[in-house]
């Protein structure tokens, strides 16, 4: 008999708000195609409502609900918060952007809401089936918004590529799920770990094969090597606000499910997968950074940088695999920081973009931005410094937590590789700064379309990047609370195990 009551309805309220809002928006955009601006407002209000309901759930008990399909705990709410905030920022940036390129339609916001609803399912997932459902709901909507510039060649290529490869990757994931179900008779996170330890499945080849297949699915979604091929093309072809959303929210949500599943269910088998994650981390960081060095297109450069960041986070995953809960705090902290840095950077890129096609900005388009628009130049420089990990920005402490967690578990050499990679990345991040301040503005430089939406996103991102950068040094209070939340929710996951 299915269980459903008012308490469960309350716990799933953010999901109901997001998906209900999406349905209403879809019906509205079918009736009235001209009301895109009003629909953007509506989507924004739905997001604020979802955010409010997430905040009101903060003290929820955090037990599995719906026969162990979902769990609404602080860990989930933390990531759900990141995803909804990213989505809200995307709406703020998109409105002006889409209007400028004449592709402003209500469906865009409906799809964004659906995708955020999928993320909520993904971060609250407590069963492989809900992980699958969440990934699909999140991705299907994104496949469509990636190709939102329907008449553009690159956008079509990006959407098609993302869809085919994503479908293929999820097939691996499903295969892994089916093997787990065959071995354990359950797909519940707790059920898997109970069965795997009591029946000594941990060293069985099919079990390890299943872990590997599930890993493939996650590695694809977080865009790590060797399943990174789609990233540059998709990030370039997608509308710029969507690119920021993909780099910030999709990555955070996928890492949330990745972390929970591996920390909860596959911890007893960690000797088998930690080494794989270490190799993936090295390959991902190195490839991302080395290839980013030669990119002239800023969107492609940031796509490779996004791959490299996934590599840094994988270091944290490896340290977590060696049972270092501090590593998980590091991963969570990094994902917040990265979401804000990348949303800010892509908000600015969206405002600068003025071409009809989706080729995106070249480095030359940044020439003299710092002289032309000093504030915007300084903001972009801040994001670049933060991504490179220079103190006192938040990017530094993100890396610091992850690397120190790795050193704590004897992965010193891995941390060294990470630091060397950060040094490497400095070259291409600073090149943007060099173009902004040391080149003359082009004579035909287009104006910057920074409406209030873009400015709000930039303001908040800058604030968070600086606040989280100063916080750990004790200057600004508040950061300890973030870290407390993260370790708190991890203890909870471990206690459920």
């Amino acid at each position: 008999m299915p269980q459903f009551n008012a308490e469960i309805a309350r716990l799933l309220m953010p999901l109901f708000i997001l998906s209900g809002g999406a349905c209403m928006l879809l019906a509205w955009s079918a009736i009235d195609e001209k009301a895109a601006r009003a629909q953007a407002w509506f989507a924004g209000i739905v997001h604020v409502a979802a955010l409010w309901s997430i905040a009101s759930l903060w003290n929820a008990e955090g037990w599995p609900i719906l026969n162990g399909m979902l769990i609404v705990d602080r860990f989930a709410l933390f990531f759900a918060g990141i995803c909804v905030v990213s989505s809200l920022a995307t709406i703020l940036v998109s409105s002006g952007y889409l209007h400028r390129f004449n592709i402003h339609r209500g469906e865009y916001y409906a799809l964004l809401l659906l995708s955020t609803a999928g993320m909520f399912v993904l971060v609250t997932a407590y069963d492989l089936m809900s992980v699958f459902l969440g990934i699909e709901l999140m991705s299907l909507a994104i496949y469509v918004i990636v190709g939102f510039r329907r008449r553009d060649f690159l956008a079509n290529e990006a959407a098609m590529k993302y869809f085919l490869l994503g479908a293929f990757a999820i097939a691996f994931f499903l295969y892994g799920m089916s093997i787990i179900y065959g071995l354990c008779g359950t797909m519940n996170f707790k059920g898997i770990v109970v069965e795997a330890t009591s029946r000594e499945l941990i060293k069985e080849p099919p079990f390890l094969f299943a872990i590997a297949l599930l890993l493939v699915g996650f590695v694809f979604k977080v865009s790590a090597v060797p399943f990174h091929m789609w990233v540059p093309d998709v990030y370039q072809g997608a509308p710029s606000p969507v690119t920021g959303y993909m780099a910030g929210a999709v990555k955070a949500a996928s890492f949330a499910a990745f972390l929970r599943l591996f920390y909860m269910s596959f911890m007893p088998a960690r000797a088998q997968w930690v080494d794989i994650v270490v190799v993936l981390a090295i390959a991902t960081m190195t490839l991302g950074n080395v290839v980013a060095l030669v990119q002239r297109n800023v969107k492609r450069m940031l796509a490779y940088s996004s791959i490299a960041h996934a590599g840094y986070i994988l270091i944290g995953m490896a340290a977590l695999g060696l049972d270092n809960t501090k590593a998980a705090s590091g991963v969570m902290f990094y994902l917040v920081v990265y979401a804000f840095m990348t949303l800010g950077a892509f908000a600015l890129i969206s405002a600068l973009e003025n071409r009809e096609d989706s080729r995106g900005l070249e480095l030359e388009d940044f020439s003299g931005l710092g002289l032309r628009r000093p504030v915007l130049g300084a903001v972009m420089a801040l994001f670049m410094f933060a991504m490179a990990g220079i103190p006192p920005t938040a990017g530094f402490f993100g890396k610091y937590y992850i690397f120190s967690a790795a050193i704590d578990r004897g992965l010193t050499w891995l941390a060294v590789v990470g630091v060397l990679n950060s040094a490497l990345s400095l070259y291409y991040y600073l090149r943007v700064v060099v173009y902004m301040y040391m080149r003359k503005p082009k004579a035909d430089a287009a104006p910057v379309f920074d409406d209030w939406g873009v400015r709000t996103v930039l303001f908040v991102s800058v604030l968070v990047t600086i606040w989280l950068g100063l916080g750990p040094s004790g200057i600004v209070p508040g950061i300890e609370t973030v870290l407390d939340w993260t370790s708190d929710s991890l203890d909870r996951i471990a206690s459920l195990r």
Binding site: L26, A30, P205
Partner: protein, 120 residues
């Protein structure tokens, strides 16, 4: 070694599955008479004369209709088991299915408004 023994039946089955068709093809290839004629080389179409190439261009509408059909196909997949268990599920099941159908109807409304159901 112990592991290999455990999975031995699977390996044997796999090898058999590969080998049997190969052997059959080989026997047919070696022993079968071979007298090709133009009539024999035409693709088999239920015994009637073949009507040209199979690589036609279809109107995109067919694909659209096929896509929309899948939605309602899946709806049926969910409704049948629900109908069987209707008494046991009670009011909860009824409300749940109403919401599900409502969402699907919304989809129908959307494609209708967008003109996807118009043939010309």
């Amino acid at each position: 070694m112990e592991l290999a023994l455990k999975y031995l039946p699977v390996i044997v089955l796999f090898l058999l599955a590969v080998m049997i068709p190969m052997i059959m093809l080989a026997i047919a290839g070696v022993t079968g008479p071979r007298q090709p004629s133009p009539r024999k080389m035409t693709p088999f179409e239920s015994g009637i004369e073949s009507l040209g190439d199979t690589r036609h261009r279809f109107s995109v509408r067919f694909f659209l209709v096929a896509l929309l059909f899948i939605i309602f196909d899946i709806e049926a997949v969910f409704i049948f088991p629900w109908a069987v268990l209707f008494r046991g599920l009670g009011v909860f099941g009824f409300v749940e299915m109403t919401i599900f159908l409502g969402i699907l109807l919304l989809g129908l409304f959307y494609i209708w408004k967008k003109g996807a159901l118009e043939w010309e």
